[in-house]
């Protein structure tokens, strides 16, 4: 490691991060999830709110690969259509596959039309039935006969960005207030620290639901979205402010900062050239670790029916469908959005752990 001395701070951080396997795995997963969030309309086989009444609670369909057609065998992914009968003993509808009705699947097919990113009209889907009039349920259908997989994919955008926006607002507040606290010190610092301790000693969920319940149900979805992120940030900023202040205070007394000062550097240059690179990686790590909390909070609020509301699709809104025992007993695939939450939260935690370890490349 003798040549490590020639590497810059950021190179050291990157090297250290690349050695953290779980962190890299988390990073790749996080990137994939945000890619999904960016291209939901294209990736989902169907639009989130289209439904088919006869497919209420339809189970996941098996994908078959070899098709025996009139013109011989060929490789052609397909599913069989579903036929439902009512079991008069239990009163439940029973689905079975209808081998007569073959629904051919294909990649890059035409389907439900959408506006890509709200701008470009399109109807191309990554995978789906070749006949735009048909529907396919890779992971089952819900109470109204909507495709659970498509809805979960569409929800990725709202759920994953609400974490980002919430953390963004928290970060701005945290840096501003934490910076003020660290810069002025003394009585201002003391007051702000006590305020932070106070806010952190309160149970957040009752406060959140208290604030969220005040959002009128008639509020347009976009406004609700921003209200919710603002509410989550009201407590979220405290953790970030502590970190910013702590790092600032710690670095202020470091020898290399004093040395830079004695060399005649201006404060702005010291902060930009010497201090920011040192705590930027810490901030990034803390921010990454704060996102999962926001995602879980949004999911929980929406699940209780006081966060985001339909027609917005977020993982929490979708999990409302799984609220009563009867529906999850009939259709366990309604848990799928829950699995998405767990995967997203785990990935971000792994990534954050890796970043945190890398943030201090000199420690063992």
């Amino acid at each position: 490691m003798t040549y490590a001395a020639h590497l810059s701070h950021s190179q050291l951080v990157i090297r250290r991060f690349l050695r953290h396997r779980l962190g890299i795995f988390g990073g790749v997963m996080t990137l994939l999830i945000y890619l999904v969030a960016a291209f939901v309309e294209f990736l989902a086989p169907h639009a989130p709110n289209t439904y088919q009444a006869r497919d209420v609670y339809a189970p996941p369909q098996n994908v078959r690969w070899i098709l025996d057609g009139p013109d011989g065998r060929r490789i052609q992914p397909h599913v069989f259509g579903l036929r439902s009968t009512t079991d008069y003993n239990t009163g439940q509808r029973v689905f079975e596959e209808d081998p007569e009705r073959v629904i051919e699947l294909g990649f890059l097919v035409r389907g439900d039309s959408y506006r890509f990113w709200g701008l470009v009209p399109a109807n191309l889907h990554f995978v789906g039935p070749k006949d735009p009039g048909e529907r396919v349920y890779f992971l089952g259908a819900d109470r109204l006969g909507r495709d659970v997989l498509s809805r979960t994919i569409h929800a990725t955008r709202v759920s994953m960005t609400i974490g980002l926006v919430g953390v963004g607002i928290s970060l701005v507040l945290g840096i501003a207030i934490g910076g003020v606290s660290g810069y002025f010190g003394g009585i201002v610092d003391l007051a702000i620290q006590r305020l932070i301790e106070f806010l952190q000693s309160l149970p957040s969920i009752p406060l959140w639901i208290g604030l969220a319940a005040a959002i009128p149900p008639t509020t347009p979805p976009i406004r609700t979205y921003f209200f919710i992120t603002a509410i989550l940030s009201i407590i979220g900023w405290t953790g970030l402010a502590r970190v910013v202040r702590g790092r600032f205070m710690a670095l202020k007394d470091e020898n290399f900062v004093k040395a830079a000062l004695l060399d005649g550097n201006r404060p702005v240059r010291i902060i930009r050239r010497h201090m920011v690179p040192n705590f930027l990686s810490h901030i990034i790590a803390v921010v990454t670790l704060a996102i999962p909390g926001m995602i879980i909070a949004e999911t929980s609020l929406s699940f209780l029916g006081i966060g985001l509301r339909p027609p917005v699709v977020s993982w929490g809104v979708l999990l409302q469908e799984a609220q009563n025992l009867r529906s999850i007993a009939t259709a366990p695939w309604l848990f799928l959005p829950g699995a998405a939450v767990v995967v997203a939260v785990l990935s971000l935690n792994f990534l954050g752990d890796g970043l945190r370890d890398a943030a201090d490349p000199y420690a063992n």
Binding site: S201, P203, A214, I328, A329
Partner: protein
């Protein structure tokens, strides 16, 4: 120790005052009140209330006064008569509604806290001492899952599993015959038999977090020279472990913010709604949706108070366990 306690108690008193302000204004400041809801409901039934009728209603409920005035009336009644106000939605005094539920919330939270400590400390020690063993990996994996599953989802999954594979519903804190029964030993036993599911649901995330922290802290300590010295002097391995490094590894739980209990009280609200517990959670949600001012404010106030009180008590218990934490608390006091 006494000075530390006195200081914490004064601080807590100030906190409670601040809590009461926040709890009240969080509900009253946003637009819309209970009378608006009544008017809305009347409209739905095709009934239109005259403006003077609406004014009368508002005066009856005391909602015509300014928010600040209402706050002081509320606080005065609490202080002078122990009267927490009246629930508009239930038509009952708030104190009658929340008494038992608050007790159950407190019980559930405390049992969960004990559960977390009892499980997390030994497991954390084991994972550190047997680093990279199969058990360590299993607990690390379970810990990550515990951190990543939102409480309510874990509750739903447990509900589903017990319904699907054991054919029974596990919701609630009591069997149907005990829900409204007076307190007897049988009822208490019934409560205990229902308590474990919410305790596990509420405790998992905290347990996972504490195991991770103890493991990391203990790993830092295990190779310190003082451990080697003690071993060289012939101290038994278990005795050595428990007497020195483990105590060190518990240290950061006091010097950092001890927010485990706060998180438990906070999470209880949602878990109670999902599992249908007879605690404060479902009542609070209902009150908030109905703009039931005094009920909602009182509940939020008591939950926050419970969180603050619980944190203080658990800090004190840790201080009793470990002289080093006592010293640290004393030095913090100097600052």
């Amino acid at each position: 120790m006494a000075r530390f306690l006195a200081r914490r108690l004064v601080l807590m008193l100030l906190t409670v005052v601040a809590i009461s302000v926040i709890s009240f204004f969080i509900i009253i400041l946003p637009p819309g009140d209970f009378v608006d809801r009544l008017v809305q409901e009347a409209n739905q039934y095709g009934e239109n209330l005259e403006p003077h009728e609406i004014e009368d209603l508002r005066r009856n409920y005391g909602l015509d006064r300014s928010a600040v005035e209402q706050y002081f009336v509320w606080v005065r009644n609490i202080l002078l008569r122990g009267d927490f106000g009246y629930s508009f939605g239930w038509d009952l005094p708030v104190s009658e509604l929340i008494g038992q539920r608050l007790g159950l919330t407190a019980l559930l939270s405390v049992v969960t806290l004990l559960f977390v400590w009892i499980v997390a400390i030994p497991v954390g020690i084991y994972a550190a001492v047997r680093k990279y063993s199969l058990g360590d990996y299993v607990f690390t994996f379970l810990g990550f899952i515990g951190l990543a599953i939102p409480n309510f989802l874990l509750a739903l999954v447990l509900l589903y599993i017990s319904f699907r594979y054991f054919g029974q519903s596990v919701g609630g804190l009591f069997s149907p015959e005990y829900v409204n029964a007076p307190w007897t030993l049988a009822r208490f036993a019934d409560l205990l038999s229902h308590l474990w599911i919410p305790v596990i649901v509420l405790g998992t995330a905290g347990t996972a977090e504490i195991i991770r922290k103890i493991r990391a802290n203990l790993l830092d300590e295990l190779h310190r020279p003082y451990v080697l010295t003690a071993r060289a002097k012939g101290l038994g391995e278990t005795h050595l472990l428990l007497k020195y490094p483990v105590r060190h590894s518990l240290n950061p739980f006091v010097s950092e913010l001890n927010d485990l209990f706060v998180k438990i009280v906070s999470g209880e609200t949602i878990v109670a709604v999902v599992l249908g517990l007879q605690t404060t959670g479902p009542l609070l949600l209902e009150a908030l949706k109905e703009e039931d001012l005094y009920l909602a404010s009182t509940l939020i106030m008591f939950l926050s108070f419970l969180a603050v009180l619980g944190t203080l008590v658990s800090d004190l218990l840790l201080m009793l366990l470990d002289p080093k934490i006592r010293r640290q608390a004393a030095s913090q006091e100097m600052m």
